[in-house]
Symmetry: C2
Subunit: 247 residues, 2 copies
């Protein structure tokens, strides 16, 4: 069944109002009619089977038939703080990371970022990434749309780690402590943050800061992963460890 995300406010009692681009998709692309059903998610974890009742040019109305209770979202919540990569790599990171199960993306300004974070362009880029996250969430049948945070500096992130139970930093210089060892020791974690360096990697100074703030450098094995691959792979391993990748 076709899936759409709406804002939580678009669901009032049993009535759902779909607006924006999705109207065109329902009415013109799929040419759906009253009586047909779609799945509507509110983006914060709830999914409903909805029967369409009124299809207009600007909005589509529907009635909730039932709430869906499949557990699609991971119990452990994963945040990817990604050192800003070159070109359009962040698009791919947001798309694939959403598929795997990441809940939140933080674009990170780090010492070796080649692309400098541009305050002027920021709003536009963030909107773009948020749209990619929404589309990927629909495609992956998620009920939560991962959020893309406003970009921040590495230092600022390091000073706002309170909400996380575990902060890991995959780092080429770490040879001993593996991801599996760290995760196995912490079966209770609920909020994990992964910090991934940009193309040039993480500086020793950044690692020292991270260590001082309680983050744990880990190795992801002896093969060197590109910046756009590391977060995705680490997220897959975290999901696997916590039984979220097909128990």
């Amino acid at each position: 069944m076709q899936r759409y995300f709406v804002e939580p406010e678009a669901i009032q009692g049993q009535t759902v109002t779909i607006t924006g681009d999705d109207v065109k998709h329902i009415v013109r692309v799929l040419r759906m009619e009253a009586g047909e059903r779609v799945i509507v998610c509110d983006g914060i974890g709830h999914a409903f089977c909805v029967e369409l009742t009124d299809l207009g040019q600007d909005r589509v109305l529907g009635q909730i038939v039932e709430q869906l209770t499949d557990q699609v979202e991971t119990a452990v919540k994963i945040t990817l703080a990604q050192g800003l990569p070159k070109g359009d790599k962040m698009d791919m990171i947001v798309q694939k990371g959403t598929e795997v199960g990441i809940s939140r993306f933080i674009p990170l300004e780090m010492a070796r970022c080649i692309v400098q974070y541009d305050q002027k362009k920021e709003q536009k880029r963030r909107e773009r990434w948020q749209k990619i996250a929404k589309e990927a969430a629909e495609q992956a049948h998620r009920t939560l749309v991962p959020s893309v945070a406003v970009g921040m500096t590495f230092e600022r992130l390091m000073n706002s780690l309170d909400g996380f139970d575990l902060v890991i930093v995959p780092y080429e210089g770490e040879k001993a402590r593996g991801l599996r060892e760290v995760l196995s020791e912490r079966p209770d974690v609920e909020q994990i943050c992964m910090v991934i360096g940009p193309e040039g990697g993480i500086t020793e100074k950044e690692i020292a800061t991270a260590l001082a703030m309680g983050a744990i450098p880990v190795t992801l094995g002896s093969r060197i992963l590109r910046t756009e691959t590391a977060g995705l792979v680490a997220a897959a391993c975290i999901c696997y460890q916590f039984g979220e990748m097909g128990g």
Copy 2:
């Protein structure tokens, strides 16, 4: 240190001969001189520290200083049989799959492939994918260049599974048996084949054939992964399970 792959024949006794595009890279791009060192891999699992002795326009000679014994390659060998995806997605699959640790790629013609396998274009595409695998292997510090097989039909693959200890087929229709369960039951496997369907998925008929040939359908969890993401994610989980992702 810079890394290069050569054919095994390019290493004779202690002397290494580098030819092709890498000569330009060493001589013109990096402007290296005699006495400088690089890492040379033979692509079948051996790596050497090599001191350059003679730099020409067509070939660079060097002497082996020592063999490197770091274990970069995974003990378990992973083959990805990938239902041919649209556009240039296979490029990304080969690049990222090489980083994660896949040893062999098989482009697979399946019932729901949108792109038909083109015998005429085949040689050229395979050369392209093989080049991507070599470059990704260098970047990932692997000592083995994954091979890209000649494309084959799903039926032909199903009749040539003898060499594998375990054949898994991530399948949306499989709800019960998870990847972790299957891998946990088989700690002894050495050769794993993953069969990934194209955009449209695997047909029920293909699943029936796979089952009959001893392959095991598995779920990768409740989030639906795109075809270009599934193999990469499953490979990461296999490496994680076998302690290859930072034990």
